[in-house]
Symmetry: C2
Subunit: 135 residues, 2 copies
Amino acid sequence: MTGTSPDFPARLRAAGLRPTRQRVALARLLFEGGHRHVTAEGLHVEVKATRMPVSLATVYNALNQFRDAGLLREVVVAPGRSYFDTNTGHHHHFFVEPDGELHDFPSDKVTIAGLPAPPKGTRLARVDVIVRVRR
Amino acid sequence: MTGTSPDFPARLRAAGLRPTRQRVALARLLFEGGHRHVTAEGLHVEVKATRMPVSLATVYNALNQFRDAGLLREVVVAPGRSYFDTNTGHHHHFFVEPDGELHDFPSDKVTIAGLPAPPKGTRLARVDVIVRVRR
DNA sequence: GCAGTATTTAGAATTGTTCTAAACTCCTTG
DNA sequence: CAAGGAGTTTAGAACAATTCTAAATACTGC
Ligand SMILES: [Mn+2]
Ligand SMILES: [Mn+2]
Ligand SMILES: [Zn+2]
Ligand SMILES: [Zn+2]
């Protein structure tokens, strides 16, 4: 068994978001099944293929809200292209150029030693490691 | 003495680029003085303040050509914002949100251990470490 | 200097994303 | 189980960053 089927309306409510039909449809695409890296455009294409199509503006709204609520994380790898990542745990990325594919790798085995202290008046928010590889 | 004054036309020729007035003006702004992180818009504002103003299209062309020639490196930190970095040596970045400032730090002291092997059919191009900090 | 190619330019076009304001829907309350 | 109101969705306009177009101009080798 993969466990209890996820109750998306409840998960959205828990995140402080009304479980509208559009948001539930998007949450289903994003969160049932394994982790994903999606672009707004890509998710819009997917949801349009559904019985419940959603406008592009709503896809952007939802992705930004999900990110702000901590349900997604945003990964910036290339100019003019934002990926939204359903894996919000600690991990890093391979970025395959020029295809633009993103692959996760766990951060448990990765050690980063010798980082300097944050500049005065700032505190650490996150360390992003992007390993760029080519075909 | 800081050494011989840099001969920008020669450096551009060495990079396979004709030393046009525009490219020389931009190279001067970029490469005399210490390392810099510039945006296209920012560099355009700077060069407009010069006796030799340059169109925005040419600024973009030159930045892309300089990058392709290895004179600059491009750093992507936030969606919709590309920085061009005159420091092409190994180093990493602090990114101060929400200001958008980029600061270098040397990679000599930083050790990254335990990186997994690149996905099949790819080889490593570069490892970017971006330390995100907040005020 | 001339020819010929590379470069520059203004402005249009493209791309990714956000905004606007009107229509709609979820949810609480009576 | 109706309102009624706040929150949400939507089409389309607007915006911001970047690239493209095609005509004018500037390097370079001869
Ligand atoms: Mn955003
Ligand atoms: Mn580019
Ligand atoms: Zn990821
Ligand atoms: Zn740098």
